[in-house]
Amino acid sequence: MIQSGGAPQISRVGAGFDDLAGAHLTRGRMLAIVSALAALTAAAALIATAFGSVHISLERALFDPASPDHVIFVAARLPRVMMGIAVGAVLASVGAALQALVRNPLAEGGILGISGGSAFGAILALVFASRIGAGQSVVPIFAFAAALLSTLAVYRIAQVDGQLEPFTLLLVGVIFNAFWGAAIMLVNSVVNLYYAHTILFWLMGSLEAPTWREVAVVSGLGAAGFAVLMSKARDLNLLSLGDETAAELGVEINALRRNIFIATSLMIGAAVSVSGIISFVGLIVPHVLRLAFGSDHRLLLPASLLGGAAFMVLADLAARVVIAPAEIPVGAITALCGGPFFIYMLRRQDRGALSL
């Protein structure tokens, strides 16, 4: 039986909770923070839509369907910004969930080599599935399956005596990344030049020239995966206490792990199939948000979703304009920010920030 909630609680003699205010997450606090981040994301999206390598007039873009401004706006900039929102949201919220699952703030799809595995799956689908007549639609499926296999492999291999060792986990990620990079280059060298650019695109991570269909795929799969993560937010909090304690607090550990594996793989597969390997977004965004708002995943997950969207849109804006008219792959931008950030976190971890 649920003992709390339900019937209105008649408060005891003036029992206020002022003394506890701010020490835990309330619905009001959550709404305020989520609204603020949503506004921030909207602002970032507006800025990113307004600016680009070519100057356009928003007025003409919106009200003059015959103008080139309109064409650039609808066919190029808008889908690209939408794609940035979807991919950033997916990568950052997956990062937060994976960190909770492995109890390691340095975990992230890119760092653990899951994105690399997923990209390899996507490339295999692209290069070989077309030969057997399967269309492009198999690409996300392969990306998902490969992401799931990579996740399971990383998780299994990093376990020492039933415990996930934080540094072993990261080392396994390093090795997986090297391995998948090599596997992708191998495919690259046996296929014809036609695919070479696409493969490079996957390796570097880019939001270049998305179609509305791709935006729909990553948004839809991302939303489905995120719904699963949100439904497990409280269980992810409990997981911070270790598997056994979480189980003693009512969490079905194996079922939880299975659900998170599948949901995060689905999301990573969706993101990778449209944008390649974009690393570190899932590391930086949840870390900053955790410092700012605490570790409760009921807030951290939606906050990462929005924060990741804003971060990615702005990173992609930088990718488009810094050396315009040429472009930097956005994956290079995030890695340039993320590398030093990772090292900073690793050093902090030495001082015990990780294990307790």
Partner: protein, 271 residues
């Protein structure tokens, strides 16, 4: 210590066998703990104390025997249902991310709440009460990672209390605590056990703590219960000599009349 037959034992175990891989750690343990009782499991290192606790809490599979919690077989509970009845505090506790003391104690409410439900005023009241029981109210805003080992231990005990369990299982609850907090925590658990008809099962290294605070004591050696009963019945010089292979003096604390146990000789030389 007889209870009315209508009241089932809080925990009843019959002929438990359990172990790791090829090793048998528990060999035919039976026990019964009534609501409101404080039950101590004592014995040397490796005697199976923690294993017994984990089996009773449903965290470790047993190879044989039965366990009943509040009159129902352990297996008839799912994880959540069990968490509403049994709260456990491990010997060592980790927290992977930064949580405040209040957030951690509120985690004890999780088995009572749905996935999306925010903690109600009733939950906050329960958490506050649990904090107050362990002198933690002024720590509510602090991050758990900033606390000392002893303070952190109290946070986890408060979390267990916030579960509002019928049975609390504590693995070496006072391992990192100073004398004053050891006394305080046992006094608190004795009160709570009586007040809420809550059973408390604790593994203890400290024989004097067991003698002073437990209603009943089980003395384990090599996975077998050498004796079970009141401290006076179990913690005899004869029993302790057999189990610890050490000459032991058992006297009385002149001011309280509780047993006082001291080593009185060197361990026998081994061949």
């Amino acid at each position: 210590m007889n209870s009315a037959p209508a009241n089932p034992a809080a925990v009843r175990a019959d002929q438990i066998h359990a172990g790791y891989a090829a090793a048998d750690v528990l060999r035919g343990i039976s026990l019964s703990v009534e609501p409101g009782q404080v039950f101590a499991i004592v014995g040397p290192n490796g005697s199976g104390k923690s294993t017994l606790l984990r089996v009773l809490a449903g965290s470790m599979r047993r190879r044989g025997g039965t366990v009943e919690i509040c009159g129902r077989p352990l297996e008839s509970y799912d994880r959540r249902a069990l968490a509403k009845v049994v709260a456990s505090v491990a010997q060592e506790n980790q927290v992977a991310f930064r949580f405040t003391v209040l957030e951690l104690v509120l985690m004890g409410r999780a088995p009572h709440l749905g996935a999306f439900r925010f903690e109600s005023h009733a939950d906050l009241e329960i958490a506050r009460e649990a904090l107050a029981h362990f002198d933690l109210l002024e720590f509510a805003h602090r991050h758990v990672e900033e606390l000392s080992g002893g303070e952190r231990k109290r946070v986890f005990l408060a979390r267990a209390l916030a579960q509002q369990p019928r049975v609390v299982m504590l693995d070496e609850p006072t391992a990192f605590l100073d004398l004053r907090h050891v006394a305080g925590i046992f006094a608190r658990f004795r009160e709570l056990a009586a007040e809420r008809a809550m059973a408390v099962i604790a593994t203890l290294h400290d024989l004097n703590a067991a003698a002073t605070y437990a209603d009943r004591v089980m003395l384990l050696k090599d996975g077998v219960a050498v004796a079970t009963g009141t401290p006076v019945e179990v913690l005899t010089e004869e029993n302790l000599r057999r189990v610890y292979e050490l000459e032991v003096y058992v006297g009385r604390n002149p001011s309280t009349g509780a047993l006082a146990i001291l080593p009185s000789g060197r361990p026998p030389a081994r061949a």
